[in-house]
């Protein structure tokens, strides 16, 4: 099946073409939904077969390239359109098509009755197409094709309800913000690609990484490439300083938030960093920057998440925070741990978003958690699945989030140091707190909604079944990555699976500090204990004594306001970047350069021509005989010249 891997890209594209071209003619939602979902479902099956086939191969043969055609061949630059099927890309493909398929099915229920139903499925399929190119591409150019493609789909889907208001502005403004902020990152990524080509004379992954591992290249060059690539990653994966678009991306329909802005697209940056692990590993300074940025993003987003009242906003900041964890892992050299967290996060965060969608659906588009409460008895299935996901993200032992998060914390302690671990644990504590705050305010406590207008109800099974499947994986997904401490001689299966991809990078990194198993277990117990404590307080405060929350927020009024306003980052960017650019464009580029210089030059030339032609156009007086005389004189002159020159 490895040779048919292109089907996983082609099928969603076919789905996009069918739904995109004929969707408006097909009035039947079921047909559109089935076309949209089945293409992704079949793509998932193909990926699964390819996965098992690869699993049966000996370890050294597990990286295969499937060449489709030569894409570009100019002046020594030869770009093949080819897919790299290896451990890393298969893992990502399974996540993208698997979670993607469930979200497609869920959307059939969620988008029921929407006038843009067909458009929605067309965009979703286009997204899967682009995302598969991103994760399967065997060179930076195909990756970039997917990279831009998912950015486009993100824009289209955030702006899906383009005629609605969103917060202080409109939905299209939110979409535009996401697109523009992403472009800033993409610019860095492009520069990184140029520099890679300049340095290694190739853009093919295998060639570049092979040369990076064996050629003598200065650390400064590696550092520059890595920092450019990382700028691209911060844009796509919503890290400081480019994270501002992700919370606004919640303007899109909830399945979009689950698929694109939680499970798949936003992890593209993590994927890219871990794909280019050898380049990053060769630049220790940049590795440190990646880790610090990841850590700061995780911490900052978690603190904002503590006080948000919009259910999707909480989840959005939670996503930013978890992405920060992934970069922390990559930054301390635990690339497989970061991909492991990508996977478990895809399960439980997609589940959380879909659960939130189910709640929003049942509460008639209400998104403020202060106006929920006591929904447990109205939506039992949504509640149970949501509860499982919350436990998973909080890092409760036995669920997937525990394994991945603790692995990251362990590596940040072992390779980064105590401070990294400490901030990571604080963040994990906050994560547990805000997630249980969300859970309590939504499903427990008093019912705070208006019973006359709102009649909460459970969602149809087309929506709840995907929730249950995701809940299943949120529980068991972690068992493929049981840390070595527990699994003994087999080691960490997930780590062993990905190990060959990272071998050169790991070899280049300074050897890991050795720590005892006891230490690892001790740290694990501490972090779990802290998480449990904060869960206890969160449930206590938000179900039984909401006045305590009130008191705390009035006590620390200033801090609370800062958090509620997200550290005023948007306002700072507005004042420091957006306004100067707009004002500068208006005053200098528009009114001065365009109006005075360019228009002045164009109009000036026209005026000169007009004035000079005013003088000589009198010759053209309309009398044919006058022209004849001129002609005659001309002929006479020419003849004279010929005669004289003989």
């Amino acid at each position: 099946m490895i040779n048919y891997i292109y089907l996983t890209v082609l099928l969603p594209l076919i789905g996009f073409v069918i739904n995109g071209l004929f969707g408006s003619k097909i009035k039947n939602e079921k047909v559109i939904g089935i076309i949209g979902s089945s293409t992704v479902g079949i793509a998932f099956l193909v990926t699964l077969f390819a996965f098992f086939e690869t699993l049966n191969l000996p370890v050294e043969n597990r990286s295969n390239t499937v060449e489709l055609f030569t894409w570009l061949n100019v002046a020594g630059l030869n770009i093949k359109f080819a897919y790299l099927v290896d451990q890393l890309s298969l893992t990502m493909s399974l996540i993208v098509t698997g979670v993607g398929f469930l979200i497609h099915v869920y959307s059939i229920g969620y988008m029921h009755g929407d006038k843009g139903f067909w458009r929605f499925f067309a965009y979703l399929n286009l997204f899967i197409f682009a995302m598969m190119n991103l994760v399967l591409g065997d060179n930076f150019v195909v990756l970039f094709l997917g990279w831009e493609g998912v950015g486009l789909c993100s824009y289209l889907l955030i702006g899906f309800w383009y005629d609605r208001k969103f917060e202080k502005g409109t939905v299209p403004q939110a979409a535009k913000k996401a697109f523009v902020v992403n472009r800033i990152g993409d610019f860095g990524f492009l520069l990184g690609m140029f520099l890679i080509y300049y340095t290694f004379d190739s853009l093919n992954f295998n060639e570049v990484f092979h040369k990076a591992a064996s050629f003598p290249v200065s650390e400064a060059t590696f550092g520059l490439i890595a920092i450019f690539l990382f700028i691209g990653a911060t844009g796509k994966s919503a890290q400081i300083p480019l994270f501002v678009w992700l919370p606004d991306a919640m303007a899109g329909p909830t399945p979009v938030s689950a698929l694109i802005h939680a499970a798949t697209m936003v992890t593209a940056g993590v994927y890219m960093v871990s794909r280019a692990a050898i380049i990053f590993a060769s630049a220790p300074t940049v590795m440190m920057i990646v880790a610090v940025i990841g850590l700061l993003t995780a911490l900052m987003a978690a603190t904002i998440g503590l006080v948000q009242n919009d259910i999707k906003k909480v989840l959005a900041y939670s996503t930013v925070s978890q992405l920060g964890y992934m970069f922390l892992a990559a930054g301390v050299g635990a690339f497989s741990a970061s991909i492991f967290h990508v996977m478990t996060h895809a399960f439980f965060k997609a589940l959380l978003f879909l659960g939130a969608g189910s709640v929003i659906h049942g509460m008639h588009e209400e998104q403020n958690i202060q106006r929920y409460g006591g929904l447990k008895k109205y939506m039992p299935k949504t509640y149970v699945t949501f509860f499982i996901a919350t436990l998973a993200i909080a890092g409760i032992p036995g669920l997937s989030g525990f394994f991945s998060k603790d692995e990251i914390l362990w590596y940040s302690y072992a390779n980064g140091g105590f401070l990294f671990w400490f901030i990571g644990v604080i963040t994990a504590m906050m994560t547990a707190f805000y997630m249980f705050r969300l859970l309590s305010l939504t499903f427990y406590g008093k019912e705070r909604f208006d019973h006359h207008h709102v009649h909460p109800h459970e969602s149809p099974s087309v929506m709840t079944v995907p929730l249950m499947i995701l809940a299943f994986f949120s529980v068991v997904g972690g068992y493929i990555g049981i840390p070595e401490v527990f699994s003994g001689e087999h080691g960490n299966l997930f780590h062993n699976w990905l190990e060959p991809v990272y071998a050169p990078a790991i070899a280049r990194l300074n050897s890991f500090g050795s720590h005892s198993n006891l230490e690892e277990i001790l740290l694990m117990i501490i972090s779990v204990a802290l998480a449990l404590t904060s869960i206890y307080f969160a449930i206590k405060i938000y179900t039984q004594k909401p006045e305590i929350a009130e008191k705390i927020s009035t006590r620390f009024k200033r801090l609370y306001t800062i958090l509620l306003n997200k550290y005023y980052v948007d306002e700072i960017y507005e004042a420091a970047v957006v306004q100067p650019i707009q004002k500068g464009s208006e005053k200098i580029l528009w009114k001065f350069t365009d109006n005075m210089i360019i228009d002045g030059a164009v109009n000036g030339i026209a005026k000169i021509v007009d004035a000079s032609s005013g003088l000589i156009r009198k010759i053209q007086n309309g009398i044919a005989q006058f022209y004849a005389i001129i002609m005659l004189l001309g002929i006479a002159l020419v003849l004279l010249w010929i005669i004289l020159s003989i």
Binding site: N621, A624, Q625, A628, I629
Partner: protein, 102 residues
Amino acid sequence: MSSIPIEYFLILSAFMFVVGITGVLIRRNAIVVFMCIELMLNSANLTLVTFSSYLGNPIGQIFVFFVMTVAAAEAAVGLAIIIAVFRNKLTVNIDEINIFKW
């Protein structure tokens, strides 16, 4: 025939040509201008025939047939235009037909 020197023919031809040009340039009646153009064509024909005869080369005379054919066609078209102009402007004075200008 050979007793008449070639200059006679050529001078006559040149004279006819100059009469034609002068007519085209100074007469105001479109019909007269038109006739003068015919005169110029015929003077050219005369030159062609003269050289053809003196050089013993028949190509010049064949050429004359072409010129006459074209002149006939041109006469038909030209007269039709003059009639069309007259129907519109009720004049064939080409000084008054001068709307194609700045």
